[in-house]
């Protein structure tokens, strides 16, 4: 395990270096914004990584809640399959295709919708029992870090380019801020809750947060249409080299995020094992010796 981690760490470092090289040297200078725009190669990949991690937290939280009851778990599984099936079929219906923004291909939407059941079952398989909760916690923590990067780089970008630090109607930045707030409150709850059921309570909060996100988006969207906003540019197509750099940057960030999540997950795993070992310390006697085995980690032997 440790060797694999080191190898991946090395590869990630190289990858990040390559992405930085592309971002600073290879990508062409923007016609309107000059070199300042290059912060996009930090800002946007961080955002996509953060959203992916929050999505993982949401799926993990729903699964963790569903697992509390066998009947509920089955119901949710069918529901998730249903979402996948309905979503894929819907994207090929002409009525739905008419609603899609221009340039968005139905197959792309279908693939994104399929990601939901795919993630659900993949995570369900790979993270049994308590591990699902550890995954949720890990994803939330690392997600908050990347989200912070987005919120810091956003104003840094906006100020020289558009003259203002923050635009209240900027739907993406404001939605990201609310998402950040929700997840920070999630982490605070986990830290300060002394309940034995903290994990379930936190999972419930994550579900609430996820339900909130579309509402946030729409409320700001409508608010923006009613109030004149400073024109934040960014329309028009992107130079293919820029897109290429952006995607490479994102891949590099994902590798990096994966490594951090892996470390954090291991840390949490070991911490819980240590707690359990301490609690079971004086467990002796026939019949109870078997109970002393720790169900958490495969490498505990």
């Amino acid at each position: 395990m440790k060797k694999l981690f080191l190898i991946l760490a090395g590869l990630t470092a190289l990858f990040l270096a390559y992405a930085t090289y592309l971002a600073l040297k290879v990508a062409p200078t923007d016609a309107l914004q000059g070199d300042v725009y290059r912060i996009i190669y930090y800002h946007v990949p961080s955002a996509w990584t953060a959203f992916l991690l929050f999505f993982i937290n949401f799926i993990a939280s729903v699964q963790y809640l569903a697992r509390t009851k066998a009947s509920l778990q089955k119901a949710v599984q069918w529901f998730v399959i249903g979402i996948g099936v309905v979503g894929v079929i819907a994207t090929f219906l002409p009525q739905v295709q008419a609603l899609l923004p221009t340039g968005m291909r139905p197959s792309a939407v279908a693939t994104t919708v399929l990601a939901i059941p795919a993630f659900y079952f993949l995570l369900g398989w790979k993270f049994p029992g308590d591990r699902m909760d550890m995954l949720a916690l890990t994803a939330a923590e690392v997600g908050v870090v990347f989200c912070t990067i987005v919120l810091v780089t956003g104003p840094i970008w906006a100020r020289p380019v558009w003259g203002i630090w923050w635009a209240p109607g900027d739907i993406r930045l404001t939605s990201t801020l609310v998402l950040w707030l929700i997840y920070v409150s999630y982490l605070v709850l986990r830290r300060f809750s002394s309940s034995a059921q903290t994990q379930i309570i936190a999972a419930a909060l994550a579900v609430f947060g996820a339900l909130d996100v579309p509402l946030v988006y729409f409320s700001i969207w409508f608010f923006r249409t009613q109030h004149p906003q400073p024109v934040i540019g960014g329309g028009g197509s992107m130079d293919p080299r820029m897109l290429h750099t952006l995607l490479i940057s994102w891949m590099a960030f994902l590798c990096f995020a994966f490594l951090i999540c892996w470390s954090r997950f291991r840390l949490e795993l070991l911490k819980r094992e240590a707690e359990q070992a301490e609690a079971m310390e004086s467990l002796v006697g026939a019949g109870t010796a078997a109970k002393a085995s720790l169900p958490l980690s495969r490498s505990a032997r």
Binding site: E275, A279, M280, S282, L283, G285, G287, T288, K291
Partner: protein, 225 residues
């Protein structure tokens, strides 16, 4: 304690209860008969309260299972009457008002049952004084009334006699004896084992999160009480 599993009302298997780094229950396995009066004894920190709460469905075992009349404790809530050292009553309402409210939670209509149980514990249903102004003995008795309001099959009482005057304690013991006589299963956690001598059918001894002995009288071999 019986050969016939159908007689066992409550089956506890390998229950571990962990609070962070502390395990209050460290593998408790036992079977308890229906219709019997079990007293649970042990030092502070032995896990008595945790076991009782687990039986009531208030504490979820970290490992292991509890089956009660074939179901999980949380599904048997109609059959369970629970009483603890806090009174589980609203201080600002009178005894009758409290019970009337809890009767609604158990879908019991009318006042007769409430008045009946209040009298059964030796208190006056007409008393308008808020429960917060009761003496400890009265409060415990009213709490017991609340616990038996809905004719539960199983009574779980956590230290019902502590800080209670002798008269109230004796009244409660008599009531419990009668209830056991009418087929109820009773668990009482107590430090005052002598009160239950001759009343309880068995004494369950706990130590450091495990059941270490089960006797018919409140004495353990080689141990002073």
């Amino acid at each position: 304690m019986t050969e016939n599993p159908a007689q066992s009302a409550i089956i506890v298997s390998g229950v571990v209860k962990q609070f962070g780094r502390f395990a209050a229950l460290r593998g408790v396995s036992a079977e308890f008969d229906a219709g019997k009066f079990h007293a649970i004894l042990g030092d502070n920190g032995a896990g008595k309260t945790t076991l009782l709460r687990a039986l009531a469905g208030l504490a979820h075992p970290t490992q292991g299972t509890i089956r009660m009349f074939g179901q999980d404790p949380q599904d048997s809530s109609r059959e369970i009457g629970y009483m603890a050292h806090p009174s589980l009553l609203y201080d600002e309402m009178s005894g009758m008002e409290n019970l009337r409210y809890f009767a609604r939670l158990y879908e019991i209509a009318g006042d007769e049952r409430c008045a009946e149980v209040i009298r059964a514990v030796g208190l006056d249903p007409q008393l308008t004084r808020p429960v917060g102004q009761y003496s400890q003995g009265m409060r415990q008795r009213m709490s017991l009334a609340r616990a038996i309001l809905h004719h539960p099959k199983l009574l779980l009482l956590d230290e019902p006699f502590s800080n209670v005057d002798v008269h109230s304690a004796r009244e409660m013991v008599i009531l419990l004896k009668n209830m056991r006589g009418s087929g109820k299963t009773i668990f009482v956690v107590t430090h005052q084992a002598l009160l239950l001598d001759g009343v309880a059918d068995e004494f369950v001894w706990m130590q450091e999160g495990r059941i270490v002995d089960r006797t018919a009288a409140p004495v353990r071999a080689g141990e002073a009480l």
